[in-house]
Symmetry: C2
Subunit: 198 residues, 2 copies
């Protein structure tokens, strides 16, 4: 009971990531992938459940890596520093792996257990990074959504060249993060002013 050892999943994913990052996610086809791996496309079905299966695996792979770089960014930090490094790590990942980043958003099946686990872990990580702002109850989760919106929005628009203006992107990002953080501090101040006097 043992077959020939040709392809394996890591090799396939690596090749797929390379195509995605250099040519775009749409160019990741079973045909282009098979050609790159010097194999006939039906052979890929032995490792992956068709094109949609490949995309799902790619999504999980990307989510794992994204979570990893985000985790590395926040260890040993807190408050503004933690959030800033988290943000920088996020956009750096999106810049370094545009196709893979794309896959994490377009491909994932929300029902997939692995996807749910990774999403949960990511939320937990960001909640912890936001601890310093003393957000009550759901407020922390809303803030996680907000931060993610802003990070994804910036990364996504940057990738699509959606910013037509001749303006330094890093400055824009820095300022956006600063504004958001200033807002968080202000919200914290307001919450205190509201609870203390009573």
């Amino acid at each position: 009971m043992s077959p020939r050892i040709g392809l394996d999943l890591p090799t396939i994913l690596q090749a797929a990531v390379e195509i995605a990052d250099t040519r775009g996610l749409e160019e990741v086809t079973l045909a282009s992938l098979a050609q790159k791996l010097d194999v006939r496309s039906p052979s890929l079905y032995n490792h992956v459940n068709g094109l949609s299966g490949l995309r799902s695996k790619l999504a999980v792979y990307g989510l794992e890596q994204l979570l990893h770089v985000m985790t590395q960014a926040v260890v040993g930090r807190s408050g503004d520093d933690a959030v800033r490094e988290l943000g920088k790590a996020y956009v750096a990942f999106a810049r370094a792996h545009p196709g893979l980043y794309d896959a994490t958003l377009r491909a994932p099946d929300p029902q997939d257990e692995e996807v749910r686990r990774l999403a949960g872990e990511t939320v937990d990580l960001v909640v912890r990074a936001l601890q310093a702002y003393e957000l009550k109850d759901d407020a922390a989760l809303h803030a996680v959504r907000g931060l993610r919106s802003l990070l994804h929005g910036f990364s996504s628009l940057e990738q699509r060249g959606g910013f037509g203006l001749p303006l330094d992107l890093d400055v824009s990002f820095q300022l956006l993060l600063d504004t958001f953080l200033a807002g968080l501090h202000e919200m914290k101040r307001r919450a205190k002013a509201e609870s203390k006097p009573n």
Copy 2:
């Protein structure tokens, strides 16, 4: 010199939007569109330059509509009120027309003159809406990018079901906007504190 009067561009775009909004942008194919219009797919080439041409037209069409609803949202308003209404109009558009909204981001050719014009007009509109914050020079443009990042990020993640949490989306959005606005005010305060004392 006159042909038969069958299809026309508005009819085609309307049908394409309907498919995009109900089944997703990927489902807008010349085949599906032709079927919906009760025509053979090569006939569409008389009105549109293939699939990519259709997508470009769809992008322009969407950008026009988006600019329109944003314009309506800010007329007669200023400051936080203007920004809030602008934001609400943006996400409302994305919610009402998920496929068309998608097209405005994925399809447009940045070289296209029409696209550039619409993008420019949109930037101008938002810059005007942000006048109350007295942002200096490039700061206003950076703020436009920031606001757009946050609006697009939220809309995009909402559409993809990227928010796994069982939490009210409108509250999240409201809070995100509040935080951003509080941040803008704080930045304005800081800028004043920095210039005045000198």
